[in-house]
Subunit: 229 residues, 2 copies
Protein backbone atom coordinates (compact mmCIF):
# COMPACT_ATOMS: atom_id res chain seq x y z
CA UNK A 1 0.00 0.00 0.00
CA UNK A 2 1.23 3.52 -0.71
CA UNK A 3 1.73 6.11 1.99
CA UNK A 4 -0.93 8.28 0.32
CA UNK A 5 -3.48 5.45 0.55
CA UNK A 6 -2.66 5.03 4.25
CA UNK A 7 -3.14 8.79 4.81
CA UNK A 8 -6.46 8.87 2.97
CA UNK A 9 -7.85 5.85 4.82
CA UNK A 10 -6.63 7.35 8.08
CA UNK A 11 -8.45 10.63 7.50
CA UNK A 12 -11.70 9.09 6.19
CA UNK A 13 -14.85 8.94 8.30
CA UNK A 14 -16.50 6.17 6.30
CA UNK A 15 -14.97 3.17 4.52
CA UNK A 16 -16.92 1.71 1.59
CA UNK A 17 -15.90 -1.39 -0.30
CA UNK A 18 -16.26 -4.99 -1.35
CA UNK A 19 -16.44 -6.99 1.87
CA UNK A 20 -13.22 -9.08 1.53
CA UNK A 21 -11.14 -6.01 0.62
CA UNK A 22 -12.40 -3.99 3.58
CA UNK A 23 -11.58 -6.96 5.80
CA UNK A 24 -7.95 -6.84 4.60
CA UNK A 25 -7.56 -3.37 6.15
CA UNK A 26 -9.57 -4.02 9.34
CA UNK A 27 -6.66 -2.87 11.53
CA UNK A 28 -6.74 0.58 9.90
CA UNK A 29 -10.48 1.18 10.21
CA UNK A 30 -11.50 0.28 13.77
CA UNK A 31 -12.81 3.77 14.61
CA UNK A 32 -14.71 4.25 11.35
CA UNK A 33 -18.16 3.76 9.91
CA UNK A 34 -18.11 0.83 7.46
CA UNK A 35 -20.32 0.05 4.47
CA UNK A 36 -19.56 -3.18 2.63
CA UNK A 37 -21.40 -5.23 0.05
CA UNK A 38 -20.85 -8.34 -2.03
CA UNK A 39 -19.80 -9.34 -5.53
CA UNK A 40 -21.47 -7.60 -8.49
CA UNK A 41 -22.79 -4.84 -6.20
CA UNK A 42 -20.30 -2.33 -7.62
CA UNK A 43 -22.89 0.22 -8.74
CA UNK A 44 -24.66 0.09 -5.35
CA UNK A 45 -21.37 0.58 -3.46
CA UNK A 46 -20.31 3.54 -5.57
CA UNK A 47 -23.75 5.15 -5.29
CA UNK A 48 -23.53 4.75 -1.52
CA UNK A 49 -20.07 6.34 -1.49
CA UNK A 50 -21.29 9.30 -3.54
CA UNK A 51 -24.40 9.72 -1.34
CA UNK A 52 -22.29 9.70 1.82
CA UNK A 53 -19.92 12.25 0.33
CA UNK A 54 -22.86 14.45 -0.65
CA UNK A 55 -24.06 14.29 2.96
CA UNK A 56 -20.75 15.85 3.99
CA UNK A 57 -18.76 12.77 5.04
CA UNK A 58 -15.16 12.04 4.09
CA UNK A 59 -15.42 8.69 2.36
CA UNK A 60 -12.69 6.24 1.31
CA UNK A 61 -13.89 3.78 -1.32
CA UNK A 62 -11.51 0.83 -1.29
CA UNK A 63 -10.40 -1.19 -4.32
CA UNK A 64 -7.67 -3.81 -4.33
CA UNK A 65 -4.57 -3.10 -6.43
CA UNK A 66 -4.96 0.17 -8.32
CA UNK A 67 -8.52 1.60 -8.27
CA UNK A 68 -8.02 2.91 -11.81
CA UNK A 69 -7.36 -0.56 -13.29
CA UNK A 70 -10.67 -2.50 -13.39
CA UNK A 71 -11.40 -0.88 -10.00
CA UNK A 72 -13.97 1.60 -8.76
CA UNK A 73 -12.39 4.89 -9.94
CA UNK A 74 -14.26 4.96 -13.24
CA UNK A 75 -17.66 4.13 -11.82
CA UNK A 76 -17.36 6.83 -9.15
CA UNK A 77 -16.42 9.44 -11.74
CA UNK A 78 -19.23 8.29 -14.05
CA UNK A 79 -21.68 8.73 -11.16
CA UNK A 80 -20.28 12.04 -9.94
CA UNK A 81 -20.27 13.59 -13.40
CA UNK A 82 -23.55 11.98 -14.51
CA UNK A 83 -25.77 12.50 -11.46
CA UNK A 84 -27.73 15.72 -10.99
CA UNK A 85 -26.35 17.55 -7.95
CA UNK A 86 -23.33 15.29 -7.49
CA UNK A 87 -20.85 17.58 -9.28
CA UNK A 88 -19.92 19.15 -5.96
CA UNK A 89 -18.34 15.94 -4.66
CA UNK A 90 -14.55 16.29 -4.59
CA UNK A 91 -12.87 13.13 -5.82
CA UNK A 92 -9.24 12.11 -5.47
CA UNK A 93 -8.11 8.93 -7.19
CA UNK A 94 -5.22 7.39 -5.24
CA UNK A 95 -3.03 5.28 -7.50
CA UNK A 96 -1.85 1.92 -6.23
CA UNK A 97 0.24 -1.08 -7.24
CA UNK A 98 -1.76 -2.98 -9.84
CA UNK A 99 -1.75 -6.80 -9.82
CA UNK A 100 0.34 -7.05 -13.01
CA UNK A 101 3.36 -5.25 -11.57
CA UNK A 102 2.90 -6.79 -8.12
CA UNK A 103 2.89 -10.25 -9.70
CA UNK A 104 5.80 -9.33 -11.94
CA UNK A 105 7.92 -8.43 -8.90
CA UNK A 106 7.31 -11.90 -7.47
CA UNK A 107 8.22 -13.60 -10.74
CA UNK A 108 11.34 -11.53 -11.46
CA UNK A 109 11.17 -8.99 -14.26
CA UNK A 110 8.75 -10.19 -16.94
CA UNK A 111 7.33 -6.70 -17.70
CA UNK A 112 10.57 -5.03 -18.67
CA UNK A 113 9.30 -4.44 -22.19
CA UNK A 114 6.02 -3.24 -23.71
CA UNK A 115 3.03 -5.08 -22.27
CA UNK A 116 -0.73 -5.38 -22.55
CA UNK A 117 -3.16 -5.87 -19.67
CA UNK A 118 -6.35 -7.76 -20.52
CA UNK A 119 -9.23 -8.83 -18.28
CA UNK A 120 -10.85 -12.09 -19.38
CA UNK A 121 -14.11 -11.27 -17.58
CA UNK A 122 -16.84 -11.08 -20.21
CA UNK A 123 -19.55 -9.88 -17.82
CA UNK A 124 -19.23 -6.32 -19.15
CA UNK A 125 -17.24 -6.82 -22.35
CA UNK A 126 -18.11 -8.92 -25.43
CA UNK A 127 -15.92 -12.03 -25.59
CA UNK A 128 -15.12 -11.35 -29.27
CA UNK A 129 -13.49 -8.04 -28.32
CA UNK A 130 -11.46 -9.67 -25.55
CA UNK A 131 -10.23 -12.38 -27.90
CA UNK A 132 -9.38 -9.78 -30.56
CA UNK A 133 -7.26 -7.98 -27.99
CA UNK A 134 -5.47 -11.19 -27.10
CA UNK A 135 -4.70 -11.77 -30.76
CA UNK A 136 -3.52 -8.18 -31.33
CA UNK A 137 -1.24 -8.46 -28.29
CA UNK A 138 0.25 -11.65 -29.72
CA UNK A 139 0.75 -10.05 -33.16
CA UNK A 140 2.57 -7.13 -31.48
CA UNK A 141 4.78 -9.52 -29.48
CA UNK A 142 3.66 -7.84 -26.25
CA UNK A 143 4.20 -9.36 -22.86
CA UNK A 144 0.62 -10.06 -21.75
CA UNK A 145 -0.87 -9.85 -18.25
CA UNK A 146 -4.25 -11.53 -17.80
CA UNK A 147 -6.63 -10.42 -15.02
CA UNK A 148 -9.73 -12.39 -13.93
CA UNK A 149 -8.57 -15.39 -15.95
CA UNK A 150 -11.13 -17.88 -14.67
CA UNK A 151 -13.96 -18.24 -12.18
CA UNK A 152 -16.08 -21.16 -11.01
CA UNK A 153 -18.56 -20.64 -13.83
CA UNK A 154 -16.23 -19.15 -16.41
CA UNK A 155 -13.75 -21.86 -17.30
CA UNK A 156 -13.65 -21.98 -21.11
CA UNK A 157 -12.20 -18.49 -21.84
CA UNK A 158 -8.69 -19.24 -20.67
CA UNK A 159 -8.64 -22.35 -22.89
CA UNK A 160 -9.57 -20.23 -25.93
CA UNK A 161 -6.90 -17.70 -25.00
CA UNK A 162 -4.28 -20.43 -24.86
CA UNK A 163 -5.38 -21.78 -28.26
CA UNK A 164 -5.27 -18.29 -29.77
CA UNK A 165 -1.81 -17.54 -28.37
CA UNK A 166 -0.39 -20.90 -29.48
CA UNK A 167 -1.17 -19.90 -33.08
CA UNK A 168 1.25 -16.97 -32.76
CA UNK A 169 3.71 -17.87 -30.00
CA UNK A 170 5.98 -20.80 -29.15
CA UNK A 171 4.59 -23.39 -26.74
CA UNK A 172 7.82 -22.93 -24.74
CA UNK A 173 7.08 -19.23 -24.09
CA UNK A 174 7.46 -18.66 -20.33
CA UNK A 175 4.30 -18.07 -18.34
CA UNK A 176 4.19 -16.93 -14.72
CA UNK A 177 1.17 -17.54 -12.52
CA UNK A 178 0.74 -15.71 -9.21
CA UNK A 179 -2.17 -16.34 -6.85
CA UNK A 180 -3.17 -14.03 -4.00
CA UNK A 181 -0.40 -11.58 -4.87
CA UNK A 182 0.57 -9.44 -1.89
CA UNK A 183 -1.86 -11.33 0.36
CA UNK A 184 -1.80 -14.27 2.71
CA UNK A 185 -1.45 -17.53 0.82
CA UNK A 186 0.58 -16.00 -2.03
CA UNK A 187 1.71 -18.70 -4.45
CA UNK A 188 3.63 -18.56 -7.70
CA UNK A 189 4.75 -20.89 -10.43
CA UNK A 190 6.71 -20.40 -13.63
CA UNK A 191 5.65 -22.68 -16.47
CA UNK A 192 5.08 -22.45 -20.23
CA UNK A 193 2.34 -21.41 -22.64
CA UNK A 194 1.86 -25.05 -23.60
CA UNK A 195 1.53 -26.28 -20.00
CA UNK A 196 0.11 -23.48 -17.88
CA UNK A 197 -3.46 -24.80 -17.82
CA UNK A 198 -2.22 -27.75 -15.75
CA UNK A 199 -1.85 -25.37 -12.78
CA UNK A 200 -4.61 -24.02 -10.50
CA UNK A 201 -6.08 -20.75 -11.81
CA UNK A 202 -8.93 -18.74 -10.30
CA UNK A 203 -10.22 -15.17 -9.89
CA UNK A 204 -7.38 -14.34 -7.47
CA UNK A 205 -4.77 -15.29 -10.06
CA UNK A 206 -2.71 -13.04 -12.34
CA UNK A 207 -1.06 -14.66 -15.35
CA UNK A 208 1.90 -13.15 -17.19
CA UNK A 209 2.81 -14.50 -20.62
CA UNK A 210 6.25 -13.61 -21.96
CA UNK A 211 7.15 -12.05 -25.31
CA UNK A 212 9.45 -13.79 -27.81
CA UNK A 213 12.54 -12.72 -25.81
CA UNK A 214 11.38 -13.71 -22.31
CA UNK A 215 13.41 -16.45 -20.64
CA UNK A 216 13.63 -18.30 -17.34
CA UNK A 217 16.87 -18.48 -15.38
CA UNK A 218 16.94 -20.10 -11.96
CA UNK A 219 13.70 -19.09 -10.28
CA UNK A 220 13.31 -15.86 -12.28
CA UNK A 221 11.23 -14.97 -15.33
CA UNK A 222 13.07 -12.23 -17.22
CA UNK A 223 12.16 -10.15 -20.28
CA UNK A 224 15.40 -8.47 -21.35
CA UNK A 225 15.20 -4.74 -22.01
CA UNK A 226 17.94 -4.99 -24.59
CA UNK A 227 21.07 -3.75 -22.78
CA UNK A 228 24.34 -5.24 -24.02
CA UNK A 229 26.06 -7.06 -21.16
CA UNK B 1 5.87 5.25 -2.48
CA UNK B 2 4.80 1.96 -0.92
CA UNK B 3 5.44 1.11 2.71
CA UNK B 4 7.60 -1.84 1.59
CA UNK B 5 9.81 0.51 -0.46
CA UNK B 6 10.21 2.78 2.58
CA UNK B 7 11.17 -0.21 4.73
CA UNK B 8 13.71 -1.50 2.23
CA UNK B 9 15.33 1.90 1.77
CA UNK B 10 15.38 2.33 5.55
CA UNK B 11 17.20 -0.94 6.12
CA UNK B 12 19.70 -0.56 3.25
CA UNK B 13 23.35 0.33 3.88
CA UNK B 14 24.01 1.60 0.35
CA UNK B 15 21.72 3.42 -2.09
CA UNK B 16 22.49 3.07 -5.80
CA UNK B 17 20.64 4.91 -8.53
CA UNK B 18 20.33 7.45 -11.28
CA UNK B 19 21.36 10.75 -9.74
CA UNK B 20 18.03 12.68 -10.01
CA UNK B 21 16.03 9.76 -8.55
CA UNK B 22 18.35 9.38 -5.57
CA UNK B 23 18.04 13.11 -4.99
CA UNK B 24 14.24 12.74 -4.73
CA UNK B 25 14.67 10.55 -1.63
CA UNK B 26 17.54 12.51 -0.02
CA UNK B 27 15.62 12.87 3.24
CA UNK B 28 15.48 9.07 3.62
CA UNK B 29 19.15 8.38 2.95
CA UNK B 30 21.18 10.82 5.04
CA UNK B 31 22.99 8.12 7.03
CA UNK B 32 23.77 5.93 4.05
CA UNK B 33 26.52 5.32 1.54
CA UNK B 34 25.42 6.62 -1.88
CA UNK B 35 26.49 5.62 -5.39
CA UNK B 36 24.90 7.57 -8.22
CA UNK B 37 25.61 7.89 -11.93
CA UNK B 38 24.16 9.59 -14.97
CA UNK B 39 21.94 8.80 -17.95
CA UNK B 40 22.72 5.69 -20.00
CA UNK B 41 24.95 4.33 -17.21
CA UNK B 42 22.37 1.68 -16.32
CA UNK B 43 24.68 -1.32 -16.79
CA UNK B 44 27.42 0.31 -14.68
CA UNK B 45 24.98 1.12 -11.87
CA UNK B 46 23.54 -2.37 -11.75
CA UNK B 47 27.03 -3.93 -11.84
CA UNK B 48 27.99 -1.70 -8.93
CA UNK B 49 24.89 -2.74 -7.00
CA UNK B 50 25.65 -6.43 -7.57
CA UNK B 51 29.33 -5.96 -6.58
CA UNK B 52 28.34 -4.18 -3.38
CA UNK B 53 25.84 -6.92 -2.55
CA UNK B 54 28.52 -9.58 -3.19
CA UNK B 55 30.80 -7.75 -0.73
CA UNK B 56 28.13 -8.28 1.93
CA UNK B 57 26.33 -4.93 1.88
CA UNK B 58 22.56 -4.46 1.92
CA UNK B 59 21.94 -2.45 -1.24
CA UNK B 60 18.82 -0.62 -2.41
CA UNK B 61 18.87 0.10 -6.15
CA UNK B 62 16.38 2.88 -6.83
CA UNK B 63 14.18 3.22 -9.92
CA UNK B 64 11.36 5.72 -10.34
CA UNK B 65 7.85 4.33 -10.67
CA UNK B 66 7.89 0.53 -10.71
CA UNK B 67 11.38 -0.99 -11.10
CA UNK B 68 9.90 -3.84 -13.14
CA UNK B 69 8.49 -1.53 -15.84
CA UNK B 70 11.39 -0.21 -17.96
CA UNK B 71 13.32 0.04 -14.66
CA UNK B 72 16.36 -1.73 -13.26
CA UNK B 73 14.80 -5.01 -12.06
CA UNK B 74 15.50 -6.87 -15.29
CA UNK B 75 19.09 -5.75 -15.66
CA UNK B 76 19.92 -6.73 -12.06
CA UNK B 77 18.43 -10.19 -12.55
CA UNK B 78 20.23 -10.58 -15.89
CA UNK B 79 23.52 -9.74 -14.13
CA UNK B 80 22.89 -11.88 -11.06
CA UNK B 81 21.89 -14.93 -13.06
CA UNK B 82 24.46 -14.39 -15.81
CA UNK B 83 27.61 -13.51 -13.82
CA UNK B 84 29.90 -16.25 -12.47
CA UNK B 85 29.73 -16.17 -8.67
CA UNK B 86 26.82 -13.75 -8.45
CA UNK B 87 24.11 -16.38 -7.94
CA UNK B 88 24.44 -16.02 -4.17
CA UNK B 89 23.09 -12.44 -4.23
CA UNK B 90 19.58 -12.39 -2.77
CA UNK B 91 17.30 -10.11 -4.80
CA UNK B 92 13.89 -8.74 -3.85
CA UNK B 93 12.00 -6.75 -6.47
CA UNK B 94 9.77 -4.19 -4.73
CA UNK B 95 6.78 -3.30 -6.90
CA UNK B 96 5.79 0.35 -7.16
CA UNK B 97 3.23 2.61 -8.80
CA UNK B 98 4.11 2.78 -12.48
CA UNK B 99 3.76 6.08 -14.35
CA UNK B 100 0.73 4.91 -16.37
CA UNK B 101 -1.47 4.34 -13.35
CA UNK B 102 -0.07 7.35 -11.47
CA UNK B 103 -0.87 9.55 -14.48
CA UNK B 104 -4.28 7.88 -14.88
CA UNK B 105 -5.20 8.80 -11.31
CA UNK B 106 -4.47 12.46 -12.07
CA UNK B 107 -6.54 12.38 -15.27
CA UNK B 108 -9.52 10.52 -13.80
CA UNK B 109 -10.05 6.91 -14.86
CA UNK B 110 -8.73 6.40 -18.40
CA UNK B 111 -7.31 2.89 -17.74
CA UNK B 112 -10.54 1.25 -16.63
CA UNK B 113 -10.42 -1.11 -19.58
CA UNK B 114 -7.70 -3.20 -21.26
CA UNK B 115 -4.59 -1.17 -21.99
CA UNK B 116 -1.16 -1.38 -23.58
CA UNK B 117 2.01 0.26 -22.28
CA UNK B 118 4.58 1.18 -24.94
CA UNK B 119 7.91 2.96 -24.58
CA UNK B 120 8.81 5.08 -27.62
CA UNK B 121 12.52 4.99 -26.81
CA UNK B 122 14.27 3.28 -29.71
CA UNK B 123 17.70 3.18 -28.08
CA UNK B 124 17.30 -0.52 -27.26
CA UNK B 125 14.33 -1.49 -29.46
CA UNK B 126 13.98 -1.30 -33.26
CA UNK B 127 11.60 1.50 -34.25
CA UNK B 128 9.70 -0.83 -36.61
CA UNK B 129 8.77 -3.08 -33.66
CA UNK B 130 7.60 -0.12 -31.58
CA UNK B 131 5.45 1.16 -34.43
CA UNK B 132 4.02 -2.32 -35.01
CA UNK B 133 3.02 -2.42 -31.35
CA UNK B 134 1.32 0.96 -31.66
CA UNK B 135 -0.63 -0.30 -34.65
CA UNK B 136 -1.62 -3.58 -32.94
CA UNK B 137 -2.81 -1.62 -29.89
CA UNK B 138 -4.95 0.55 -32.16
CA UNK B 139 -6.39 -2.49 -33.97
CA UNK B 140 -7.30 -4.01 -30.59
CA UNK B 141 -8.95 -0.76 -29.43
CA UNK B 142 -6.72 -0.71 -26.37
CA UNK B 143 -6.26 2.34 -24.22
CA UNK B 144 -2.58 3.18 -24.83
CA UNK B 145 -0.05 4.61 -22.37
CA UNK B 146 3.14 5.98 -23.94
CA UNK B 147 6.36 6.20 -21.90
CA UNK B 148 9.46 8.15 -23.00
CA UNK B 149 7.45 9.84 -25.76
CA UNK B 150 10.05 12.41 -26.79
CA UNK B 151 13.51 13.69 -25.87
CA UNK B 152 15.63 16.60 -27.06
CA UNK B 153 17.10 14.52 -29.87
CA UNK B 154 14.19 12.16 -30.45
CA UNK B 155 11.34 14.30 -31.74
CA UNK B 156 9.99 12.50 -34.82
CA UNK B 157 8.71 9.27 -33.21
CA UNK B 158 5.70 10.81 -31.51
CA UNK B 159 4.68 12.39 -34.82
CA UNK B 160 4.77 8.98 -36.53
CA UNK B 161 2.77 7.50 -33.67
CA UNK B 162 0.10 10.15 -34.06
CA UNK B 163 -0.06 9.52 -37.81
CA UNK B 164 -0.37 5.77 -37.27
CA UNK B 165 -3.09 6.13 -34.65
CA UNK B 166 -5.08 8.60 -36.76
CA UNK B 167 -5.43 5.88 -39.41
CA UNK B 168 -7.36 3.74 -36.92
CA UNK B 169 -8.86 6.10 -34.35
CA UNK B 170 -10.98 9.24 -34.38
CA UNK B 171 -9.14 12.56 -34.19
CA UNK B 172 -11.49 13.43 -31.31
CA UNK B 173 -10.24 10.50 -29.18
CA UNK B 174 -9.36 11.92 -25.75
CA UNK B 175 -5.67 12.12 -24.87
CA UNK B 176 -4.30 12.92 -21.42
CA UNK B 177 -0.81 14.28 -20.92
CA UNK B 178 0.82 14.30 -17.48
CA UNK B 179 4.26 15.76 -16.84
CA UNK B 180 6.32 15.09 -13.71
CA UNK B 181 3.67 12.80 -12.31
CA UNK B 182 3.89 12.51 -8.51
CA UNK B 183 6.73 15.05 -8.43
CA UNK B 184 7.20 18.75 -7.97
CA UNK B 185 5.93 20.65 -11.00
CA UNK B 186 3.25 18.10 -11.88
CA UNK B 187 1.17 19.34 -14.83
CA UNK B 188 -1.67 17.76 -16.75
CA UNK B 189 -3.80 18.52 -19.75
CA UNK B 190 -6.64 16.68 -21.45
CA UNK B 191 -6.76 17.13 -25.22
CA UNK B 192 -7.42 15.01 -28.32
CA UNK B 193 -5.51 12.69 -30.63
CA UNK B 194 -5.69 15.30 -33.37
CA UNK B 195 -4.33 18.12 -31.19
CA UNK B 196 -2.06 16.64 -28.54
CA UNK B 197 1.20 17.49 -30.29
CA UNK B 198 0.44 21.18 -29.69
CA UNK B 199 1.26 20.64 -25.99
CA UNK B 200 4.71 20.36 -24.38
CA UNK B 201 5.97 16.75 -24.29
CA UNK B 202 9.33 15.52 -22.99
CA UNK B 203 10.98 12.53 -21.30
CA UNK B 204 9.16 13.27 -18.03
CA UNK B 205 5.78 13.03 -19.74
CA UNK B 206 3.32 10.14 -19.79
CA UNK B 207 0.64 10.18 -22.50
CA UNK B 208 -2.61 8.23 -22.27
CA UNK B 209 -4.69 7.77 -25.42
CA UNK B 210 -8.27 6.63 -24.95
CA UNK B 211 -10.06 3.72 -26.58
CA UNK B 212 -13.19 4.18 -28.72
CA UNK B 213 -15.38 4.53 -25.57
CA UNK B 214 -13.25 7.02 -23.63
CA UNK B 215 -14.85 10.40 -23.00
CA UNK B 216 -14.18 13.65 -21.19
CA UNK B 217 -16.61 15.05 -18.64
CA UNK B 218 -15.70 18.15 -16.67
CA UNK B 219 -12.03 17.83 -15.87
CA UNK B 220 -12.02 14.03 -15.99
CA UNK B 221 -10.98 11.55 -18.67
CA UNK B 222 -13.05 8.41 -18.25
CA UNK B 223 -13.01 5.02 -19.97
CA UNK B 224 -16.24 3.30 -18.96
CA UNK B 225 -15.93 -0.25 -17.70
CA UNK B 226 -19.38 -1.07 -19.00
CA UNK B 227 -21.64 -0.96 -15.93
CA UNK B 228 -25.25 -0.01 -16.62
CA UNK B 229 -26.11 3.13 -14.64
Amino acid sequence: MTSRALEVIGSAEVIVGYHPYVELIADLTEDKEIFTSGMRKEVERCQKAVELALSGKKVALVSSGDPGVYGMAGLVLELVTGTEGAESVQVEVVAGVTAATAAAAQLGAPLMHDFAIISLSDLLTPWELILRRVECAALGDYVIALYNPKSKKRIQQIVEVQQCLLQHKEAQTPVGIVRNVGRQGEEKVITTLGQFLDHPIDMFTTIIIGNSQTYVEGSWMITPRGYRL
